[in-house]
Symmetry: D2
Subunit: 361 residues, 4 copies
């Protein structure tokens, strides 16, 4: 019952097999190998576009290097005020951009709204030398709150950004989970909606440590190879990134894995829906659930072996926000979360809430 | 017959097995897992010292992050003028130190001499605000030229460095290969000889992508966790770094792998020793050979399927340096280079040099 | 009638005289001159403390270098969301800290409140490697809104900051103007209230281009000389910074200049107080007034030769905020603003508002 | 008898007058004033070209910001191994380029030779991601050794640089001194010889603290305003930079000042030429002399009140290099060095060397 993170999961068997297979024999170093070439070709195919794509081993690297390629050091990078790039990467975007300024935009459920973006952009004057220059918009799909932008929402935000001369980056650490939820094509959820560069995550969804940075306009990628090398992110045995990504995409494995993770979370959400003492901060969309529960229930769950992180967010509507005596839990399912695990968790909830102690509100 | 690099090799089977095994079940993310803890314990044991050690996935990251932790941005970092950190990392040390200045020291065979170091240090005045402040000495063991510092040489250079207030870093991308050649203990070749922080390589010697940065004085590591996270080098599924490093050290696998690689190179060197038209730039010590051969021989080898890189160095003694019509080859053996491959290479050399064409000088 | 900025003013005659006098003969370069030594001694005397002080030529340099000395690159620097360091320095603090993150705290009238600071600090976890580490609090005295923290307010915020392990920086670009308004001692408004490092401005208050960075605890200044030199802010003919600062402090000139500037603004505020169509966004305290006026009045003023900038701020209480048809003017007086200029401005206002056109609301 | 540096001199009277005059009345802040506009127009006129020029207050800022505008962080910047930007700016170019690598080229007399440049460039491979990418050549005119490149030499080096895709920067801290020595036009010594961006010094030649960065191709200046602001180098009372530069250029004052400084040095050189015990490391060309003298003479000079710095250089031909018992003196004359001072110095030399003690070799 480890619901701490999709990073707590292992590697999908097909990807593990691919790594083992890739190890046989010699291969060109530093990403000039056939595995990487194949992965890049598959990415082009999946995204229906000849793009410039690069593999790295962490999502932080993918995001920060992408932003570094898109914006100069005197830029402002607009993102949700609780975006991973702003709150959880210890300043990696600042490092790789050479000191850009991340500007948080508020928004319920971890989502930036057109009005919020416009209002924030309005505080910056292009060409006025004293202010950071609007450089990029970074959207997280899915968001830190487990919510999902609709295609129209992405398109609307991208249009505002492009209109103001910004590049549009998407942090797709959970791109697959959002995609299967929206049931659209990868192209629709990225470049067709105005995304210029995508951090395409695989690690949280069954890879060992592999993310792609995809520039849909290869011209914007000119500095990326140098930024990546200089960042120590060009793996010498690059074939093992290529092998992961190729296996991840092959036969739609990535979609299957994401569907399974989302389904586990949906099962959990449905199970919790019937429990009076529990409510969700935001509706379940992907493989994450944010549940507000009585503290004694949280303690009971932990006592029974359930693992999860407590959360904290300003993006919860006031009416739903945690109150005194409540715990705010993030529950994350992975590609390998079993129905049994979810049901065991739900059973503990049920038992606790039905008890004289737990039933009291 | 791929002699381009030890990076062209795959992964040692025992390490691959460990990766597969580590994938089962959930594990704490970001390096708080038991695999990583076990790797750190093994490192302490192997180095006979309670150190602060950190795992990353590339040697460039290991070197640059280590230097970033040891020196401020206004530092001078002294290294051989052909050191990997200076010539082959696209400025990674400059990035992670915040803009330190790498100062190359000349020296035959890729090795810094005490006189060379003293002379170079003499150009910098501590406390004089206009000059970069002496910050660190970085030694490569083994060197880019495949040569090896003796323990006394390391100790002498470290003493000069410490006397001038420098920290001592060792780039040990091929630490294992040097170690088995010197036949000493890891402690002797590192902290007992004055090394403060070591980039302990595993990738070139059979891992998939794993290096440790070891601070023998844990106080010097205070900023490392932030530097690493900010650099995008804290892997979410950190267990797979831990599993690699633990398997690498377990039962002395790392020494066995290095011995095999060195032996293959020794076999190659012995085979070439009898060929009049071929000479080595520097005596073979580890798993690399630098051979100067007639250009037609180089072409013949490639025609027969041998792969290697041409080299270029200012660290060759004038008497040995390549002349017109000669090619300067770097031949690298890996843990999995077979005797048969070496012998096939030597056979081509022999056949070519015995021929009327090849025999002409 | 130039009310655009105190930067639009020239140099106070006594400072100009000092520059001319300092030019005679040779002097040691790079700040080792007697003028600089005298300025440092005067700063110690004025602040009643043996401090480490450094002269630079811009306020941006003073702020950014001070923060660079106080905080590592992975820091969060807390400041008002409209602080000059955040909005008006094009990322200078990000550059000189090596990429720290500025975190804006909201607050009416440009002032951070203890609750606001505590709430914001609460989002950062010291030691949690993924979040920027709380590094410094930067207070502006006076603020960008022309308001002034009381001594108790500074002390309360400093105490919170120190309690959370932050250094406290004060941006004192208009330190003198705030000081004469509070009628306290420089020590009271700085280190006695918990300030660790002060950007002590002189330029806006009659100097040509001179600011001091004062570290009340000299230990915190260790890296400053290198940061300054590396930033290109160590002037070769440093005597001219020393001469400015010494003349500025000599005989309390700085207080006289600030009093004059404040008085001019007070005269302006009193004059506007009787005009029904005009209101101030915040009460006048120093040499800046923020007036909300009907657009036609703003146009009339400009037509008659008055110069000023239009402003924009989120720190205005909703009840006072500019409405449709209103202009938000920043009117800044300098040490040399004459009563006549103010009166001329007021006369235009009076005439316009008394007219049939201007009188309509 | 202060021969320590041209930075030890005061300000030329005409420039001081201009500063005083510029102080009257209000002026636009941050360089949008008429004084700055006039200075820029004069620069265009003097250099016979519509350029993009910017004023800053130090030579270090001029050099480092210029290089920052010309090259990305992963660049190699080629300069003489004893160039001011490499040895005397505490890493400012590294800071403002975001961590570029300065690559020293050896050369007698502080001058890079075409062969030296080609050899050094030959070690870098454009497009090879592991090596720093050739970014810029920086030439010092005059050099740190007080020598001067001929127009042909500049043109030859620029041609090599441009051929390799480098931008050409000139550190002209003593541009005026070199110019009057070569007796050519400013255009000839800069853009007509291939220079793209010039740090045009005035401080050492009679200004208070003012240097221009001139981009002869304004397209290359696009990022400069942001780099400068972010570096804290956009002076709020920018008129005082403009006034200095305008007065410096007006009526050719700058040439007059440089001629006087050079003449004083020439007088010194001629005086020393007849002294058997003294030799020059390099022939006198500008306002600096590098004299190798017996240590007792150096002591005698200091005892009599002469001030100078001892020097150290690898750019002295072996035959001329200082030997045991000799001191290597740098003697710098300024625009206001009087003949009397020089003669007094020479008299001490003469008296000492004629004495029984001093005459012994």
């Amino acid at each position: 019952m480890n619901f701490t993170s999709d990073n707590a999961a292992g590697v999908a068997p097909a990807i593990l097999d691919a790594l083992v297979a890739a190890s046989a024999g010699a291969a060109a170093a530093y990403g000039a190998d056939t595995f990487t070439l194949r992965a890049q070709a598959l990415l082009d195919e999946v995204f229906e576009r000849k793009a410039a794509s690069f593999l790295v081993s962490t999502g932080t690297a993918a995001n920060a290097l992408a932003l570094g390629a898109l914006t100069p050091p005197w830029s402002a990078v607009f993102c949700h005020e609780e975006a991973h790039i702003h709150d959880d990467e210890c300043g990696a975007p600042e490092l790789f951009t050479g000191g850009a300024k991340l500007v948080g935009v508020a928004g319920d459920g971890g989502k930036i709204t057109p009005d919020g973006l416009r209002e924030t952009l309005g505080r910056f004057s292009r060409g006025l030398v004293k202010t950071a220059q609007p450089g990029a918009l970074s959207l997280s799909q899915a968001t830190e709150a487990g919510t999902v932008y609709s295609l129209d929402e992405i398109a609307a935000l991208s249009a505002i950004a492009h209109g103001a001369g910004l590049a549009v980056h998407m942090d797709g650490a959970r791109f697959a989970n959002a995609l299967v939820e929206l049931d659209c094509s990868p192209a629709q959820m990225s470049w067709k909606a105005g995304v210029d560069a995508l951090s395409f995550g695989a690690t949280k969804n069954g890879a060992m440590g592999c993310e792609a940075v995809i520039f849909f306009n290869p011209n914007q990628a000119a500095s990326f190879p140098f930024l990546r090398k200089r960042g120590g992110h060009t793996l010498s045995k690059g074939r093992f990134l290529g092998a992961q990504m190729a296996a991840y995409l092959d036969g739609g494995l990535w979609l299957t894995l994401a569907q399974r993770a989302n389904e586990a979370a949906r099962r959990m959400a449905h199970g919790l829906a019937g429990v009076e003492q529990v409510r969700l901060a935001w509706p379940q969309r992907i493989n994450e659930i944010f549940a507000i529960v009585p503290r004694p229930l949280a303690a009971a769950l932990q006592a029974e072996g359930a693992q999860f992180h407590e959360w904290r967010s300003r993006a919860v509507a006031a009416s739903a926000a945690p109150r005194e005596g409540e715990a705010f839990l993030r529950l994350v399912c992975a590609f390998d979360t079993s129905d049994a695990e979810v049901d065991r968790f739900l059973a503990i909830v049920g038992a606790h809430c039905a008890s004289p102690e737990g039933g009291r509100r």
